[in-house]
Subunit: 367 residues, 2 copies
């Protein structure tokens, strides 16, 4: 095998692919990156057997072949090479020689044959959407996925297409985040739960561009296809919770206020909530004043915000992290929060857009 | 006690002072910052009993007093306050009320009386120099201080004034870094070993300005005085090594090359040196070519650089970290390296400036 490519393009491909390399593994070959140029192009590939990432890198293929090279070391080497052409030659013993300007590395590799293949995803069902839209949807939803594995299905987000609308939803027993989007052409009947880990990796790879990403689904896998990159992941098995009926459609109290003001007040109140180790902040709505309080052994905090209120006065308590998580991903200047009672879930919505809904359970406190 | 000051100035003072707060301590009061406004100004102060930092913060003193507040929590609170005026009131129970815009915090503090006093440093001997010069000197020297405490005196750098020259020197048994500077007015006879930890903190506080810093010495302490900040540290006791006689003044081989080229080649070679766990890189000078090699079980690297050589060919090996440490702090475009034999120390000097000398011991290798 012998190839010539630019340092920058090679590095970009390695950095993307490396995201699939497991930090620890009992299968040493997975700590490698596969260089596959058995055809007319160079593909580099890595996988932890759950997620696989493949990048096509512009390269002149002088001699076809394949090899697996240590991901971490290779990444560090290529990063430190001068910005020139890189020549990689692999001999029959899988020893790779990497030449660039006056540098020459020799690295022991492994045969490409030993590297696991990525599953075929043939795209029975698929959809295309702008990269920036998918990136934004993931950002607004993925943090609400469950972290603990007690109910594995909740460690992923449900992606669903029905009635001309794409929706992404995640919930962890304390809160629910749902984002919807209208797309031009939609393949009805798509329904898959994609692991949060996959969505987080995809979010890092997606660019803030309206160029499309194509998403293909089979019963067991999902494939995200970008221009030069393909990410393949298994989907989670099982039935997702039917969350739509738990979103209340009536409220007793509704407030409207600036998102940034609420976020900053909650963050300050969190400082003591965290000291108290329970993360608890109390919201007290009295006419057009929202008071946020929190206390701990070392002290207490009281924040006062002017709000527009509709309905009854109310006292309610939340885990401050669950509240700020949502405020951080809402881009509108104003938010509306709708409450029913102090022991039932509230709904946070950006004022201008109908496409995001965040439901949050309160914490019961003895007052 | 009652004071009013701006959020930004208060935060700046807290951030500087916090550097003296110990991360762990058996004396809980040291995790606090003392607010001392018993006079017409606000001084905030912290110490770990080795280093003490005091900042004067612009404030309106409405009522005199003092209090100790938890450093970490206070820092987080002030950082998150809106950029407005901050009012701090302390009642007789040492409870501080911090008000800013619509936020109100109450924090349990401790009496200022319980906070340790900083030592008096009356400045029997002193010198003044531009902040940026001191900052640069520390940067070029302090990394060569010993980390291990087997010879405590080597965990500091020697600051000395003699024959109209200020010098700073550090050595750890493997390398020696010396930086000198001519100053206008010098107090001959200054000789003190300042802990590396103090110098590192001072380096962070110093600004890239030609404004002066005044350094005062007593037998046991040193004081660095800036406009609004004073840093007081103990000095190390004992006799520093007389390093001047270990710097060779003759050489058998000398090379001249671009600093950045050598640094980058060494960094690439280090990647495998590190894999080999001994950090060993070999330099081979053959006429006007410098070859740098390193190897490990997984592979090897060879770098080739054009150099201007004077004297004999030479093969020598180094711990790559000790070599790159020096190259990183040399600002000149070209460096000269002078060698005697493959088992005696070499000298690295910036080409243009006479003020920096770095001596490095080679590693003996069986070749």
């Amino acid at each position: 095998m012998k190839i010539v490519c630019s340092k920058d393009q090679l590095l970009e491909g390695i950095l993307i692919t490396q995201k699939a390399v497991p930090p620890r593994t009992t299968l040493p070959i997975l700590q490698g990156i596969l260089f596959d140029c058995r055809d007319h192009s160079l593909y580099i590939r890595a996988t932890d057997l759950e997620i696989g990432i493949e990048c096509r890198v512009e390269a002149e293929i002088v001699e076809k072949g394949w090899v697996v090279l240590d991901s971490r070391l290779l990444g560090e080497i290529v990063r430190k090479l001068p910005p020139e052409e890189v020549e990689i030659t692999v001999n029959e013993g899988n020893i790779a020689e990497i030449k660039c300007a006056n540098s020459r590395f020799r690295l022991q590799g492994q045969s490409g044959e030993e590297f696991p293949q990525l599953p075929q995803v043939d795209g029975e069902k698929s959809l295309s959407m702008p990269q920036d839209l998918l990136k934004g949807m993931i950002r607004q939803v993925v943090f609400a996925c469950a972290v603990e594995e007690t109910r594995p299905i909740l460690t992923g987000a449900l992606i669903e297409c029905s009635r001309g609308e794409l929706s992404m939803a995640a919930l962890d027993g304390f809160r629910l985040a749902v984002r919807t989007a209208k797309l031009d052409s939609l393949n009805d009947g798509i329904k898959a739960v994609v692991p949060a880990k996959t969505l987080n990796e995809i979010q890092r790879i997606l660019k803030d561009t309206q160029d499309n990403v194509k998403i293909e689904f089979t019963g067991s896998h999902v494939l995200f296809g970008l221009e030069n990159t393909r990410v393949i992941s298994r989907v989670l098995e099982g039935e997702f919770i039917n969350y739509r009926h738990i979103i209340p459609d009536e409220y007793g109290t509704s407030i409207r206020l600036k998102n940034i003001d609420l976020l900053e007040s909650c963050e300050r109140a969190s400082l003591l909530a965290r000291e108290g180790r329970n993360n608890l902040i109390k919201l007290n709505i009295t006419r057009d004043v929202l008071e946020i309080t929190s206390n701990a052994e070392i002290g207490e905090v009281r924040e006062e915000l002017a709000v527009e209120t509709e309905g009854k006065d109310l006292e309610i308590a939340f885990n401050s992290k669950y509240l700020t998580d949502a405020l951080k991903v809402i881009e509108d200047e104003y938010v509306n929060i709708e409450f029913t009672t102090s022991v039932s879930p509230c709904i946070i919505k950006p004022e201008e857009s109908e496409t995001y809904t965040y439901l949050l359970l309160p914490v019961r406190v003895l007052s």
